[in-house]
Symmetry: C2
Subunit: 618 residues, 2 copies
């Protein structure tokens, strides 16, 4: 009987079951030493011979019998009876027990004269100095690092026995197309097993991706049987929920046993833990971030139980910038962008949609909210797990406010200076509030005030007396995007899509309506909101609406018509105290760089004459 | 003109020259997405299409026109005119703008009745939710991580343009034999370019190892010309010093220019920085740890200048256990073993011999002593660079005292529990002093006192009133090792090799001589000291001496004869306050484990009847 989805199991119980319900005995294989980096030794490795095997000269000079050198001094030079010329690395013949550097020897034909006694073993690398024959060079369970290979090669090791955890990955789903094919609407590229292979491969597992299987229990069953035979762990991608086309649980039940159906984690709840022929079989949900969470929180610990190390970047205590709430009962994992502003770490959750893979790409931290907690208030201190090195997180530049594709190009240029630009799109007003709470390094904005100026009146109002600098990124054109070339004057005759409240683009729209004496309600779709320029252009391109307002670059990127409405000052506001922060000064340098100017010109729709101009408040 | 070795260049100047003297423009190549993990993007990557491309249902249910649902409530159910059944992931047809979960719908044939209004866009994944067509998914200069591949695959990316830094590695030296061959005395396995390939490959460089070249300038020149043509950087291994058979500098001078010969670092001083046809050519010294230092301190920054990231594990402030001194003028890098004892990090330098690769294998930290400093006193706080993750360093178990091969087997068993045993061999008395300063977790010892007991009298004397526990590892046999079967009674008739002062083995020897009324001087070689059992056995095996005293396992490992002299109690002393430390309790558990007992029995020469027996002081 398939346990239905109603009773989910906690993550803790799930992990306990994995540890105790399976023997987790890894396979092993011999690999050439050159391919062993990143693998884990399955048995201790012993030196085949001593290194060096015999005493070697550690200097260029002469090998001597130390006894013969006794009493030598500046006043009483000694001419040696027995001595022989040696270079560094040469064997010291057994009758000698010290080496004297060539600089300290007077050579006269075959005669060597010295002025200083040589203690026994001087300048000799004794046999076994590095390692002795039969000595243990590496224990079992050791992750082989690049520099280990040099030592092992020197000790006569040509191949090593390493742990092997074989993981079979089965993609299922009739909506899948293979990587490289163009999906039709409603189809998706099969990317989850590819991600799984990359992630588990990086842990040292040996992955096999099987061909895609349609939603058909007969075919899925056949593939699972095959994969269980060939692997230590099997992961069935998608079909793990309890819908009409979800067959994973049924198949596992037929071939073995479903131990858990539904784990109390979010994203990732529809996970399945099963057992077929003593081997663990994991049902991995189809949403990419659900799959990612199951790989990280369930599969990685399982792989660890098989003996492979799972690296961790550690944690950081950070101040949450916005409240996050959740239902009681599940551990929830929220991908975040983390950065250090002044002497505080601040943490901003990203989109929690399980289909939004860009949250994983853009995040550098992961906040776990335990099952028993309903969420956290903004401005509480929380502990976040790093998903990048701490050094990389220290380099995060936090940009919060109005979005423009230019910000991505700034990110591109800054990445080359190893600064990671993390932008949060909350509109111009959102940026002001973030600046007010000192939760970002810079806020891009373009807010037209009643006096006709941009931005300054708003900063004066919301951040009175604060010392601020405004750096102009560009003057940019906003206009009407459409498939057919609609201008502002025709706008009421067409369906429209708006930007969110507080966005500069909406303010500009309201201003343009007002000066023409038009009511907001005249626009069909005024109340329909999206949050980016590109989302406006996408809705137009898809034919959902006929017109919207956005920047030129968004229209151009999608091959749409664009009729300019107004130019506006797109500036970035910075607390003056942060101007000396190397991340911020690099940002300012990048804005005035020739490379950025070239980008602005190529994109079109931007005027660069004000680019880099700084205005100060107060 | 070759600049001779006399004027070395500081590391700082060397790095400045590398940054400013070369353009460091990487090549680029296209690689399949599946092979791109660990590579660095050469250009930004844009989504080929929006994901999702159209609005999709986020739940199983019905697609509805939200306007039609207005007013629906428990009291006033609404039967919809337009609605269509959709499953999660299905396309929502353009005429609908919300989805209602199937659980909330009353279905009667073709009729759908609802009791709650659906806000616009409810349970819909809007087109472009993850990413919009043309949006930047990754900037250039981004290190591709495993989970990035899943996202890129979903966005239609099949291959990516990545940075390529091609490095040619040329091994030189007539004494080299290739990896896998058994070196004759005075020969060495060519392992340095292998280590270089592994280390630089791990940074993302593309390495080519060329065939070994003998010490012959004509052949070296030909190979260098060839490698310069094919690569962005060329590394010539060995021959970089100023000896009679060191041709690197001459060859570089003939083909281009030697910019630096001799860098003020130790190990690694004989490094060469040259330029041939605008490309950097590095002369890498032949001693393995010199090579390692040049790779880490000079080549890695150069590779970084080409755009590849060089990860860092960060630093730790630690208390130095022993003094280290050095000459003024060079930055010296000392490999160390680092661990946390109580709430302090303690740092112990390892062998500084440039040929001792095991120092690199065993160390977990690296202490840089700047050029202007003569060294550091014991018990000063210094900053050490981690060479493993901080989490791994936290798991280091520090064992200081008398060495026995058993300690390596304990390390092997503990590694499987992710505890890294770091042992420092300073003899039993050295262990006592380390315990006294609280600089280790446990000290193995076997010191026979005049009252016939082992260890306790010494602990009482040197650590009076301290609360200590002694755990017996085994009773072990010490005896005379020889090729011919020499017993203690014949010992004065043969040449001998002794252990260092303070070692328990030497105390036992002295005791055995004393009870027989023999003078120390009666032994030919009493004054000749080595520091491990294996070193004694190696000297005997090599024929340098006829006899020595060591444990049975060392004699057995080298196939030598062994005549027992005495059994002694080999115990491990632990401050009682550390017994609850998980690393120490795992050590104690391991000592009494069946796996360890089996090892003791297989090795021979150990009696396990006292194994695990604990004695307490006071």
């Amino acid at each position: 009987m398939v346990k239905r989805y109603l009773s989910v199991t906690s993550l803790r119980e799930t992990l306990t079951l994995l540890r105790t319900g399976f023997t987790c005995t890894p396979s092993r294989e011999r690999v050439p030493l050159l391919k062993s980096v990143g693998r884990v030794t399955a048995e201790p490795i012993f030196a085949r011979y001593s290194v060096p095997e015999v005493h070697l000269a550690a200097m260029d000079g002469i090998a001597v019998v130390s006894r013969e050198t006794r009493g030598a001094s500046e006043q009483h030079p000694v001419t040696l009876q027995q001595a022989v010329r040696v270079n560094t690395g040469n064997v010291v013949p057994p009758e000698y027990d010290a080496v004297i550097m060539i600089e300290d020897v007077h050579i006269d034909g075959e005669q060597f004269t010295i002025r200083k006694a040589a203690p026994t073993w001087q300048h000799i690398r004794p046999a076994g100095e590095d390692i002795g024959e039969s000595e243990m060079a590496l224990p079992s369970g050791h992750l082989i690092r690049p520099h280990d290979t040099g030592a092992l090669a020197a000790y006569g090791i040509t191949d090593v026995s390493v742990l092997m955890v074989r993981i079979g990955l089965i993609p299922t789903g009739s909506e899948l197309v293979s990587h490289g094919s163009r999906p039709a609407p409603g189809q998706v590229v099969e990317s989850n097993t590819l991600m799984a292979e990359a992630m588990l491969g990086a842990l040292g597992a040996t992955c096999t991706r099987y061909p895609m299987v349609k939603d058909d229990p007969v075919h899925i069953r056949k593939m699972v049987q095959h994969a269980v035979f060939e692997n230590d762990i099997v992961i069935i991608s998608a079909g793990s929920s309890a819908g009409t086309k979800d067959y994973t649980a049924d198949v596992v039940t037929e071939l073995g046993e479903v131990l858990i159906h539904g784990v109390a984690i979010k994203p990732g709840k529809p996970a399945i833990i099963g057992r077929i022929g003593k081997k663990p079989v994991i049902g991995m949900p189809g949403y990419p971030l659900s799959a990612l969470t199951v790989l990280r929180e369930i599969v990685a610990p399982l792989v660890h139980a098989f003996g492979l190390p799972v690296p961790s970047y550690g944690t950081v205590d950070a101040w949450l910038t916005v409240s996050v709430s959740k239902d009681i009962g599940s551990d929830e994992f929220v991908l975040c962008s983390l950065g250090r502003v002044g002497d505080r770490w601040v943490l901003t959750p990203m989109s929690r949609g399980a289909g939004v893979q860009m949250s994983a790409v853009r995040s550098n931290a992961n906040l776990k909210i335990p099952a028993g907690v309903e969420g956290y208030e903004a401005e509480t201190l929380v502990t976040a797990g790093l998903t990048v090195s701490r050094a990389e997180a220290e380099q995060a530049l936090l940009i919060t406010g109005s979005h423009d594709p230019l910000i991505d190009y700034l990110a591109d240029l800054l990445q080359q200076k190893e600064i990671g630009l993390h932008s949060t799109h909350v509109g111009s007003m959102g940026g002001i509030f973030s600046l007010k709470k000192n939760e970002c390094h810079a806020a891009p904005m373009h807010m037209l005030a009643e006096n006709g100026d941009y931005n300054i009146p708003y900063l004066e109002k919301y951040l009175p007396k604060e010392e601020m600098s405004l750096v102009c990124i560009a003057e940019r054109q906003q206009g009407i995007v459409s498939r057919t070339g609609i201008g502002f004057d025709d706008i009421t005759r067409h369906s429209f899509i708006n930007r969110q409240r507080g966005s500069g683009t909406r303010m500009l729209l309201d201003h343009e309506l007002r000066i023409r004496g038009m009511a907001n309600e005249a626009l069909k779709g005024y109340e329909r909101e999206v949050t980016t320029h590109l989302a406006v252009a996408l809705a137009v391109k898809a034919g959902e609406v006929e017109a919207g307002m956005c920047v030129y670059s968004a229209a151009k990127a999608l091959g749409l018509r664009f009729i300019p409405v107004a130019s506006e000052r797109y500036e970035i506001a910075i607390r003056r105290e942060h101007l000396d922060d190397p991340r911020v000064s690099q940002l300012c340098d990048t804005i005035v760089s020739p490379a950025f100017k070239e980008i602005l010109e190529n994109l079109g729709g931007y005027d660069t004459k004000e680019t880099g101009v700084r205005r100060e408040l107060p």
